[in-house]
């Protein structure tokens, strides 16, 4: 196993390791994180990985949205002396480039800008490597990268270049591949999309989610809360075929004749991979059998801008009105506008429990369910995630995107059983009233109400 240096983009730290692991699983190669906590802290921008081949490093760079670039790792140190002495010891890694390979050096920093004069000094300090090839800044055969990592100093005012050289760690290696998945964020930018809605998921997150599903050609992936289709486009771009459904057909259609989802998919050249989009309520779904999909990816509506709905009435009709309804349904009058069935709210914590049960029924063994769960930061407990699990389904990743008082968790659940389960019955749970004190109440229950109350803590509530 050789060691590689992953340089991460400054975003979504918690999602870094799950993404690496997903891509390694997708292409079926071995990825080992370092045992040294210094080298595998996902909160830091540089991570050292062990891989069996350089090709695997290239695959990571091509598919991981959070990777900026990946280097063959030569050495690191708290000082340049330390870095250089270790780099000398690794001569076998770079001596083949000495005779005639053209090269380039880049010296950059994280959380800091190194003045040009010192950049030059740093490059010169590597002169013991004795490269004979010519320096070529435009098209070198190989590029070396030297990275200084500084503590975060955001929020503090300081002079330009102040603290220069006071880095935590410095890393050095040879460039294998620049990340090419990151530019996809621009390509899938919602603002440039021909069809989107006010709850469309931003491009970076939907790409990360697509990676969690292990999307690739030949797979069939389902979104049961399709909305304007934001989850489907990246999944289809990675080669998978997409099936979508939503209780509200207007979300998928938009206002023009050609449905909006197909228009946006055409823009990305993936319309042939959107197999179908259907209007139905997932709690009353027409799927003929289970074990159909390789993955389920979804961003369920959690109620801040749009709440989840299911078929049914909040209040049942009384006998008289029910009779009128039946009368009207059996003898429709010409000129009546089309019947639109009534809907009622679908509580988020019920929805996620049902979603996991549905996924267990509809996924093939080994398939993944990838979705977002909003949560209240102060009230979240690890056990919240487990309130929604059922036998045969296991959480394999759970990463937080923190917005302060609330956040949302990207949850990846794997179907670990090949046993066949019946479809869920979606019966309305009567968990209101709180008579059952023994049961754990997850922080995402009544998320909408909590959101609009500004996430006041329980004590504050009581004090009023």
């Amino acid at each position: 196993m050789a060691r590689y240096l992953a340089v991460f983009a400054q975003a979504h730290q918690e999602f870094r390791v799950p993404e690496l692991e997903s891509i390694a699983q997708l292409y079926n190669f071995k990825l080992t994180l370092s045992d040294d906590p210094e080298e595998c802290d996902p909160g830091r921008p540089y991570m050292i990985l062990s891989l069996e081949s350089e090709d695997h490093a290239r695959l990571l760079a091509k598919r991981c949205v959070l990777i900026k670039s990946i280097y063959e790792f030569y050495s690191r140190g708290a000082t340049y002396d330390e870095l250089h002495s270790r780099n000398r010891a690794k001569r076998s890694l770079w001596e083949r480039y000495i005779p005639e390979t053209s090269f380039k050096f880049s010296v950059t920093a994280y959380n800091h800008k190194i003045p040009q004069r010192r950049q030059k000094e740093v490059v010169e300090s590597f002169s013991y490597m004795d490269f004979m090839g010519k320096i070529d800044m435009k098209n070198p055969e190989i590029s070396f990268g030297c990275f200084e990592e500084y503590e975060t100093r955001s929020g503090k005012t300081r002079e330009r270049h102040e603290g220069d050289g006071e880095f935590v760690q410095v890393y050095f290696g040879r460039l294998i591949e620049e990340g090419t998945a990151r530019p996809l964020i621009q390509m899938f930018d919602v603002k440039k999309r021909s069809y989107f809605g006010n709850t469309s998921m931003e491009a970076e997150i939907s790409l990360l989610m697509a990676n969690q599903t292990l999307a690739s050609p030949g797979k069939l992936i389902y979104d049961p809360f399709m909305g304007t289709g934001s989850m489907g486009y990246p999944v289809a771009y990675f080669g998978a075929q997409v099936m979508g459904s939503d209780i509200d057909g207007r979300q998928m259609r938009g206002k023009q004749t050609t449905p909006g989802v197909f228009r946006a998919a055409s823009q990305y050249g993936v319309v042939s991979r959107i197999i179908d989009i259907c209007t139905f309520d997932v709690t009353n779904n027409p799927w003929r059998c289970g074990e159909l999909f390789d993955a389920i990816i979804t961003d369920p509506p959690y109620g801040v801008r749009a709440g989840a709905k299911r078929l049914g009435r909040k209040k049942e009709l009384d006998a008289h009105r029910l009779e009128l309804y039946h009368e009207h349904r059996s003898n429709p009058r010409p000129g009546d506008s089309p019947y639109i069935p009534p809907t009622k709210p679908y509580e988020l914590s019920d929805l996620v429990v049902d979603l996991v049960l549905l996924a267990r029924y509809l996924l093939k063994p080994g398939g993944r369910l990838v979705f977002f769960l909003p949560t209240v930061t102060d009230q979240y407990e690890e056990v919240d995630i487990y309130t929604m699990l059922c036998p045969g389904m296991e959480v394999i990743a759970n990463s937080l995107q923190d917005f302060g008082s609330w956040g949302r968790r990207l949850v990846t659940i794997r179907k670990v059983t090949s046993e066949r389960y019946p479809p869920p019955d979606f019966s309305t749970r009567n968990t209101e009233g709180g008579d059952d004190k023994t049961q754990h109440v997850p922080a995402h229950r009544h998320f909408r109400e909590k959101y609009f109350q500004g996430f006041k803590k329980a004590e504050e509530e009581e004090g009023r």
Binding site: S245, G249, R253, S272, D276, C278, N284, W287, L311, Y325
Partner: protein
């Protein structure tokens, strides 16, 4: 654009309608043919999920008789190409899908089927 792969996976789900509720009968349909990526591995793995007779019959109704009545043992290239065409390249743009049992009609408009149920049809 209801494709026949989707049609093969949808059954009537009206409350109490549990037998003879598949396949949904196609009525007044308008079809369009559009190319899709050919992926033999996908077809092979998906084959066991299909209700073969329903697929052959529906394809025939839409004028495609390229599929054999019985699923062949040997999956040669010609068979896979025909299966690919039937499953993924025939799109139903408009029309209705009718339950053979309860006669519920599911309309298709601009390629999107409306599978919603009325309030007396849900459990």
């Amino acid at each position: 654009m209801v494709r026949l792969i989707t049609h093969n996976l949808l059954a009537c789900h009206v409350k109490g309608c549990t037998s003879n509720n598949f396949p949904l009968q196609l009525q007044n349909v308008q079809i369009e043919l559009r190319e899709a990526d050919f992926n033999p591995d996908f077809l092979k793995t998906f084959l066991p999920k299909l209700e073969w007779k329903a697929l052959v019959d529906s394809a025939k109704e839409l004028g495609d008789t390229s599929l054999p009545l019985e699923q062949p043992e040997m999956l040669d290239d010609e068979f896979l190409k025909n299966l690919h065409h039937v499953l993924l390249e025939i799109h139903i743009e408009e029309g209705n899908m009718i339950c053979p049992n309860c006669k519920h009609s599911y309309p298709i408009s601009n390629g999107i089927p409306n599978m919603l149920l009325a309030e007396h049809e849900i459990g």
